[in-house]
């Protein structure tokens, strides 16, 4: 018998800030709670729908390093181009996901795609950092470009909608992304009135982001658009009923339960490893990427 997983906290989007000049984001992790509480999800920035005007010089974030975790960019609207010092790169657009394993270290840059920038338009994305287990932090960097058509889609009964499985597993169907620890990442697309139940082991850190529309959670709590809902660890299952057509990002992952030492773009286990990360970055061990 599954027990109900209750809501721990509903967070409304706070004052947005710009990352570089191309991402206007609301921070939900660690803003909502600490990295330790949200383990293994250590950062979540949400660019809610925002209109970028047309420009010939693409906006974005210049060359910067990462070490010790993975960056996951989920594109809902707009197009982003990425390049990194490990030779990874590509463009992601609506429905696509870019899963970059920074691991031992990469330099990368992210800009609105040149062609998209020329017309501009509505832009909506999520950037998430997924922590790596200590044993994998210094592994080789890699890059998974997951295009929309590779993402498994399961239709829900009673025309409730569909679930797209970016990572993890839903009723036997596996997600497209490979992960280093158990992570479930779904886009739940519900039609108005559509209802479903989701279930994850109770110890998994679990949250949803209301990307589009509104829903009622566990039959009682209203989750408005652009809100972030963090669940407790008191049960497995929760229900979601769409009050309007809705797109909901579902995150659930097994906590790594390892020490976190974080500073800027480096997330390691000890302070010494952080110092080493800065030294390695400064002395070219992350490679080189033209700005």
């Amino acid at each position: 018998m599954m027990t109900t997983r209750t809501i721990e906290k509903v967070t409304k989007p706070g004052t947005p800030h710009f990352v570089g000049d191309g991402f206007r984001v609301h921070n939900f992790i660690p803003g909502t709670s600490t990295m330790q509480r949200m383990d293994p999800f250590i950062m979540l920035d949400y660019n809610s729908k925002y209109n970028f005007p047309a420009t010939n010089s693409p906006k974005g974030v210049g060359v910067h390093p990462h070490r010790g975790f993975e960056t996951v960019t989920i594109a809902y609207k707009g197009r982003v181009e990425h390049n990194d010092s490990a030779g990874g790169g590509g463009v992601i657009g609506e429905g696509d996901v870019q899963w970059m394993t920074a691991a031992s270290g990469v330099l990368h840059k992210e800009y609105h795609e040149t062609e998209w920038s020329k017309t501009g338009g509505e832009f909506q994305m999520v950037q998430l950092w997924v922590n790596l287990p200590a044993k994998d932090k210094m592994s080789e960097p890699k890059y998974q470009a997951i295009v929309s058509k590779e993402i498994s889609k399961i239709d829900l009964p009673n025309s409730a909608g569909a679930i797209e499985i970016i990572a993890g597993e839903y009723k036997g169907t596996k997600g497209a992304a490979s992960t280093f620890s158990p992570i479930n990442m779904f886009n739940l697309k519900l039609n108005k009135g559509g209802k479903t139940e989701l279930s994850f082991p109770s110890n998994y850190t679990t949250a949803i982001l209301m990307v589009e529309g509104e829903a009622i959670i566990n039959g009682v709590t209203r989750a408005a658009e652009d809100h972030f809902i963090m669940f407790s660890n008191d049960g497995e299952s929760f229900t979601v009923e769409a009050a309007s057509d809705a797109i909901i990002l579902v995150l659930s992952g097994e906590p790594l339960n390892e020490p976190i030492a974080a500073h800027g773009p480096f997330v390691m286990n000890t302070k010494e490893e952080l110092v080493e990360a800065f030294q390695d970055f400064n002395t070219g061990k992350f490679g080189y990427l033209e700005g």
């Binding site: 010092s85 070219g284 080189y288």
Partner: protein, 199 residues
């Protein structure tokens, strides 16, 4: 709450926790927005600026209007035009904020209050000044004789996180090299230290 400044006074200034509480009411702070000035040419500088949070830079403009950066101050660093403060003469320098910065404004009045509660403080402060002079000697010697790579490596060793906070051209200005030259140094280091067939 000024955790960095408190630690500075206790560890570098030799104050006890109680002595810090005694001088706390005399502390003056200022928030400086990115791009705003704490000192401009022609002003008389009346303070030393301790950086609690943020980044300041101290620079001169040459006749062509080019900025020559003498010093960066990140958390726990002190920056000032000491000549202008001591001799009460107009400064020929600028100090502005590279990031939004919280500074503690140190002046004679504050130093006297600290010395009242801890007579050893003046000697400790003298030690910091001598350390600063030692650092300046090293910097002049490097500008005269070290390679761009040596200057860069010494710089990032001293300010480990600065490459992430300050634009490249400012770092090149501090090192006394062109931005292109800095880029070459970093590319050569990557080639030397990064195991990849990308080069």
């Amino acid at each position: 709450m000024l955790p960095n400044f408190k630690r500075h006074l206790i560890e570098k200034g030799g104050l006890s926790e109680t002595q810090f509480q005694q001088v706390e009411p005399f502390l003056k702070t200022r928030m400086v927005a990115k791009g705003d000035f704490l000192l401009q040419q022609g002003d008389i500088c009346n303070h030393s600026f301790f950086v609690e949070q943020g980044v300041l830079r101290f620079y001169a403009l040459n006749k062509e209007g080019k900025e020559n950066i003498l010093q960066f101050a990140t958390e726990n660093w002190i920056v000032s035009d000491r000549g202008s403060v001591f001799f009460q003469e107009p400064s020929t320098y600028y100090i502005d904020a590279v990031e939004d910065t919280l500074t503690v404004m140190l002046d004679d009045d504050f130093m006297s209050e600290v010395a009242k509660v801890n007579p050893n403080f003046r000697a400790q402060n003298e030690r910091l000044l001598q350390n600063h002079i030692r650092h300046l000697y090293k910097r002049i010697s490097q500008l005269l004789g070290a390679t761009a790579k040596e200057r860069y490596l010494d710089f990032v060793n001293m300010y480990p996180d600065i490459m992430l906070r300050v634009p490249q051209w400012m770092i090149a200005s501090y090192l006394g090299i062109t931005p292109e030259s800095l880029s070459r140094v970093r590319k050569a280091l990557a080639k030397e230290n990064f195991n990849s067939d990308l080069f």
